[in-house]
Amino acid sequence: MNNEEPPIFTYSQPGKIGVNLPAAGVETTPLPAELLRQDDLAGFPELTEPEVIRHFTRISQRNYSIDTGFYPLGSCTMKYNPKLHEEAARLPGFAAAHPLQDEALSQGALQLMYELQSYLGEISGFDAVSLQPAAGAQGELTGILVFRAYHHDRGDTQRTEVLVPDSAHGTNPATAAMVGLKVIELKSDARGNVDLDDLKAKLSPRTAGMMLTNPNTLGLFEEHIVEICRLVHEAGGLMYGDGANFNAILGIAKPGELGFDFMHYNLHKTFTTPHGGGGPGSGAVGCTAELAPYLPGPRVRRRDDGTYEFFTPEKSIGRMKSFHGNFGMLVRAWTYIRSMGAAGLRAVSETAVLNANYVRVMLKDIYPQAIDRICMHEVVLRGQIAGAPKDVRTLDIAKRLIDYGFHPPTIYFPLIVPEALMIEPTETESKQTLDHFIATMRQIAGEAVETPEVLHTAPTKAPVRRLDEVRAARQPILRYDAEAINRLQTAS
């Protein structure tokens, strides 16, 4: 299974085809010669269906996935993706419906969207939900555009700054910059919370709002959350909640009740829609009634006669993408919420937090906890093992985990923790799996002291070993080029 699979282009033979298409079956209209492409699709491969299937099946086997193993990638919520959801999204009325067909012909889809809006609002304590954003980062962009529109609508055009803690995901500052706002970084205090003195010093009439992940990226619940929201509001700013870590607080706390004004949900984290090797996701957003008029459209509402229709809020910032969001992801999230119910969702978060704390207490004597507190759904440890040589780093621990059949945790994030190992077990893992992982982490710590070279040379059991990433960037090969690949393979 670890055999290399050559690029698909190397299988190509002239004349092959992998589909069985109908004849046009109509009288022929001449093609406009001056508009035809000149190169006859040079470089396009020609294969049959069995060859294509074997190729992609073989490369799939060179992937690690949730279905094949434990994937404790912090901040990414790599929980099990239920198989029912895959069937649901492929029902013909969802998979083969046109997005612009008449609303009267789309009542099932609209009802599902309307109900999902209601469920997400209820779970988070918000009055209004838009399902349009395609990913968390697009939800952030939506929120900051809404903040800007809200302030401008009130004639308040001086609010050009967004406060972002130093522990935040990179998307937060990148989002503020995309809206032309200035990012002001906030320090964290010794307990991993936002430093309140720093916050007070940086709030001003220029503050458009603050972006906060809660629980934060240290896996800790912000102890002063209510006061933070109050301070930001007193300064005239708005509170944005990054919902990346929402899996910790379903039925535990509602961001809208804590004082947030707006948040995005990562349906591909908390609500089990698959990550797909990097998308598609869904970054639906929720907000207070005060901000609802600015949400992107179309949203769905229920008419008096019980039917459903699309509408665009009166002061909407506009569309974030074409059509109605990543609808297939909405079907999966709806199905999940209807499977779990209120008690089931609370059990999800309780168990996610239980699992993370179990890993924490079983490992922190060897891998120091970044901040020694009860954690939420994830724990941040440091890959600094007593007695190991200084050149044994978190990267080496991560790569050694691969040899033992685990996906490594998130590493070197959050940026404020040296040698960070961010572990998020999720609720869909058994105690046996956690115990196996804990025992492996302890074994690796022993190896770090006794035989550090096995960490430096890891992984040795993966499809490939450590890569020359500098070469990839300095001599980039970004599309198939037989000569360039040949040169690469013969270079020393």
């Binding site: 299937i53 690690y64 555009l145 039925g251 992801m329 779990m340 609720e427």
Partner: protein, 444 residues
């Protein structure tokens, strides 16, 4: 415990003891007590068979391609999806993996994206492609952000009227905070030449679409050189199926080429998830947004794939990144790569040709109906404008009764065309289906 949570009561007790707390509630003491454990007012949970029944009920409340003939396009097209595409998408190794940050155990996803990038370059003639955007609209909006970063000190974007109205709307949403002027699409019926005339020494980018929103094919050869002579860039929004036959964005001299990848095997899916295709010139590689996969070697000299040129991205560059994009449409890029591999050189051409021929057959037959007139002053590919004797809404209501979804009503977007319908025909519309549409229209 639910069927997705494998922790037993005994496990829980043992784990709580190890943690040193009595009850699970003790893990949440940091949550303000007044806000802790709010009730959730949600419907009671359903079992799997009950849920599947409810999902089936909702699904069948929608019209769909198995029960209706679809002549509606306007940015989402009912093209053929080979069965083999979904078989690959259903592999858990692909769809339950995360972004390939650990390349040693993500070679499958990385190789698939590399092959996607390569296929898109071959299809478009462009030099580089990224790993995808959310959809065609956001890819187009990101082309404007990139142009503003490449062409310094120019704050105007010119967008032709022929660009999909939803894409133009998204462009305006994305740029509303950036002190940028967006012009060129104000006048209904205005042409690419009209838009080109707006490109001046303040313009960073001209955006055109080919085929345009009304389905018309344009000869864009030389356009890139004309735009570049004024110091601006050219972005062409193309249709990936049309490229089986027609001019590539590279032949137009485009600096950036974007597309909606939905026709490449993704199905209609009520609007998403789709695929934003983004390509540009090699020299702008450090200016583009999103992920890119490259080739390198491992320490044993084996060829391997890896995310590269990452210093552009938000997790490294933060507020100085080229975009905030993180999660994109990876699985949809895979789907399109499988689709393009199955089609190959001949299949891509055949799909384009069947589509073209059937669309022209439909246009000729509809044009022959009394009171109907097809606007065919320019070549078209898959969609064409029909001026109708009655409001399009009325005609579409009559078609619905015959299980036909008619074309897009242009009365809101292009009122100068009168009762105009934008009709789309693909290789999925059989000649018999087209004849039936014509018969129903004739009988109205």
């Amino acid at each position: 415990m639910t069927h997705y949570i494998p922790i037993t009561d005994a496990d829980r007790q043992a784990m709580l003891k190890a943690i040193g707390v009595e009850r699970i509630e003790d893990l949440f003491v940091d949550v303000p007590a007044s806000h802790r454990f709010p009730p959730l007012d949600l419907p009671p949970p359903l079992s799997e068979p009950e849920l599947m029944a409810e999902l089936n009920r909702l699904s069948e409340l929608n019209a769909h391609a198995r029960r209706y003939s679809i002549f509606l396009g306007a940015g989402a097209y009912n093209h053929f999806v080979p069965a083999a595409v979904d078989q690959i998408l259903r592999r858990g190794e692909f769809y339950t993996a995360y972004t390939p940050y650990q390349p040693e155990i993500s070679q499958g996803t990385l190789q698939a994206i590399f092959e996607y990038q390569s296929l898109i370059c071959a299809l478009t003639g462009m030099e580089i492609a990224n790993a995808s955007h959310y959809d065609g609209a956001t890819a187009l909006a990101e082309s404007a952000i990139m142009a503003l970063n490449v062409v310094r000190n120019r704050r105007k974007i010119v967008v032709a009227r022929g660009v999909h109205p939803q894409y133009r709307a998204v462009l305006r949403t994305y740029l509303q905070g950036l002190d940028v002027e967006i012009v060129g699409d104000e006048t209904p019926g205005s042409s690419i030449a009209d838009a080109l005339a707006r490109v001046d020494d303040q313009t960073a980018l001209l955006i055109v679409q080919n085929p345009d929103f009304l389905g018309r094919l344009h000869d864009l050869r030389g356009l890139g050189a004309q735009v570049q002579a004024r110091g601006a860039l050219l972005a062409v929004h193309f249709d990936p199926i049309a490229l089986g036959l027609f001019q590539t964005p590279a032949e137009a001299g485009a600096d950036i080429a974007t597309a909606e990848g939905q026709p490449l095997g993704l199905g209609l899916a009520f609007g998403g998830p789709y695929l934003g295709i983004f390509t540009t010139r090699q020299k702008y590689v450090h200016k583009i947004a999103g992920r890119i996969v490259g080739v390198t070697k491992d320490v044993d000299g084996r060829m391997a794939y890896v995310l590269t040129l990452r210093a552009r991205e938000q997790d490294i560059r933060r507020e100085r990144a080229t975009s905030n994009i993180c999660t994109n449409q990876g699985l949809m890029a895979l789907a399109s790569a499988v689709y393009m591999s199955l089609m190959g050189k001949r299949g891509m051409r055949m799909v384009a040709e069947i589509t073209y021929q059937r669309a022209h057959y439909a246009a000729k037959r509809i044009n022959a109906l009394p009171g109907y007139r097809v606007l065919a002053d320019q070549p078209f590919f898959r969609e064409f404008v029909v001026q109708c004797p009655r409001p399009v809404a009325e005609i579409n209501a009559a078609l619905r009764a015959q299980n036909i979804i008619g074309g897009y009503d242009l009365s809101a977007d292009e009122p100068q065309l009168g009762n105009a319908m934008l009709v789309a025909v693909t290789e999925m519309n059989t000649p018999a289906e087209i004849d039936r549409l014509v018969d129903v229209l004739a009988a109205l």
